[in-house]
């Protein structure tokens, strides 16, 4: 540091915008140098005055006119931006080997993912895809869905599934559904002729 501190350092010191080491160094200097100390005080006084001026609009300012000028400047800037022709994109020429490798990997991962996906998820995705194809709005199946079919009864909710079927792949002799949220399937034991009725119900 020279005999007096640099003007820029004094200004930064007055604004409190210095690193710790420089702040200590300039602070020690101004503590013993009346001239630099006065400069720092002058910067601080100017800074306070600027703050006050910024918080008040100048007397006689026509705000409506100023706003109109600002809007006009913005429009001129946008119009000028439109005149600039878009930059052409640099074409990247790649060989077919990397493309084929990426496509093969994606297909393999998709197949593995699909094969390992629970049936309920597969159906949900298929349902959503069908909805997209048929341009229908489909509400997400977050609510429980109870289904009765010749395969038995099933309850699906948030990716989980509860399937109720009879051993040996027996098909139900009758199925029924209640609008309260339950479904039943009726089976006959071929050995004992006993009727067994399995039901799934949503008791929420």
């Amino acid at each position: 540091m020279s005999r007096h501190a640099r003007e820029i350092d004094l200004a930064l010191y007055a604004a409190g915008d210095m690193s710790l080491w420089n702040r200590i160094s300039v602070g020690l200097h101004t503590a013993n140098c009346e001239q630099c100390k006065a400069r720092v005080q002058a910067y601080r006084t100017d800074r306070e005055r600027l703050k006050q001026d910024a918080s008040e609009l100048p007397a006689g300012l026509n705000w409506e006119r100023l706003a109109a000028e600002m809007t006009a400047n913005i429009r001129v800037g946008l119009a000028a931006g439109e005149c600039v022709a878009p930059r052409g994109r640099k074409r990247v020429v790649a060989g077919w080997w990397p493309v084929a490798a990426v496509a093969g990997t994606v297909m393999m991962l998709s197949a593995a993912w699909w094969l390992n996906l629970p049936a309920s998820d597969t159906q949900s995705i298929s349902h959503a895809m069908r909805g997209l194809v048929h341009s229908r709005t489909v509400v997400a199946d977050e609510q429980p869905v109870i289904e009765a079919s010749s395969g038995g009864i099933k309850l699906s909710e948030n990716g989980s599934e509860l399937q109720v079927s009879q051993g040996g792949g027996a098909r139900p002799k009758a199925i029924s559904v209640s609008t309260e949220g339950s479904a039943s399937a009726r089976y006959i034991d071929s050995d004992t002729d006993q009727i067994t009725i399995t039901s799934v119900m949503n008791v929420q």
């Binding site: 990997t105 393999m108 991962l109 593995a112 094969l115 390992n116 629970p118 049936a119 309920s120 998820d121 229908r136 709005t137 489909v138 509400v139 199946d141 609510q143 429980p144 869905v145 109870i146 289904e147 009765a148 079919s149 010749s150 309850l155 909710e157 990716g159 989980s160 599934e161 509860l162 399937q163 109720v164 079927s165 009879q166 051993g167 002799k173 009758a174 199925i175 029924s176 559904v177 209640s178 609008t179 309260e180 949220g181 339950s182 479904a183 009726r186 006959i188 004992t192 002729d193 006993q194 009727i195 067994t196 009725i197 399995t198 039901s199 799934v200 119900m201 949503n202 008791v203 929420q204």
Partner: protein
Amino acid sequence: MSSRVIGFLIAAAAASAQTPSLKIDLPKDSPIVVLSVDPAGSRATPRGGAYLIDLHASLSLRNSSQKHIRGVALAVQSQEVTLLGTKATVSVPSMNVAPGDAFSMHIDQTLTRTLRGGDGTPSVEVQLDGVLFDDLSFYGPDKLHSQRTLTVWELEARRDRSYFKNLLTPASAEALRSEMLRQVDLPQTRVQVRGRATNADPDREVQFALLNLPDSPVDLTGGTARVSGDEASAPRFDVRSLSKRPVRHMEIGWIVKDQDGHEFLAASLPADLSLAPGQVSQVVQDSALRFPGTSIQSMKAFVSAVEFGDGNYWILSRKALEDPQLRSIVGPSPEEQRLSQIYRKKGLNALVDELKKF
């Protein structure tokens, strides 16, 4: 990369299966006791990203009460696979188990859900929901409304046995034979039920054609539902009591005709209500029915069962079931199917012997 994927597939396929633990929980004063439990064949297997539990259990039970048992309902629950607010039941109607006699029940269920961290050996709990006796008295917590269900099945069984017994005279043996052979499997249409409609296509309000049967204690005086393609929702019915007794519950049968002109019983609509003699009321539900692949053309409705305030029931009579509009739509009762099965397997004499047991 491919070897890692193949390895993952092999690992998923070869995941080790576990045997789920089975817990039978019966009250101390239960009228049935467990003699043995055979969970052979039950297993829990991680499959892909899901946990699959195959439950095949055979329960050997004994009637420890002083009455004949006509029906039993068990609630089946698995902590690992329970869906929020979901219950599964296994019921056996049309029973004739004398005091002290043993009987068996089979639980066959497949449960799946997505795998979660910390999954252990799954456990399945079986609880008694109710037992119906030959005097129509009931034992059990009845958390799943088994009393009403078992009672209606038993009343239907008595109605059908009485009907078939009346056909036992030599002159009407052929009539009994034709009744048994009439039993065919009704078409089973895929039906989904959910809490509200999901199809945002424009819907229309469709009026139900109302089938008011001559001896029904409750009349339907109006009915509508919102229909959009393969989905029907928000059914609403106006009802009027014709009975001298108060009504506390009723069930409405909901018939749908598809684009090919085929009619089928789509669902039953149960409703708790407090209906004084002669009073009118409304039955309204927010639920939605969906029939994938079907276009709903028209709908019919009829009162299928009523529970009175005194605990007695009204069910469809055999005469009502002969109505041409119901005959090919309302399926046979569980008892009629059981008797038909006996006839087909063992012949007329076995059927006659079975009817004489009651």
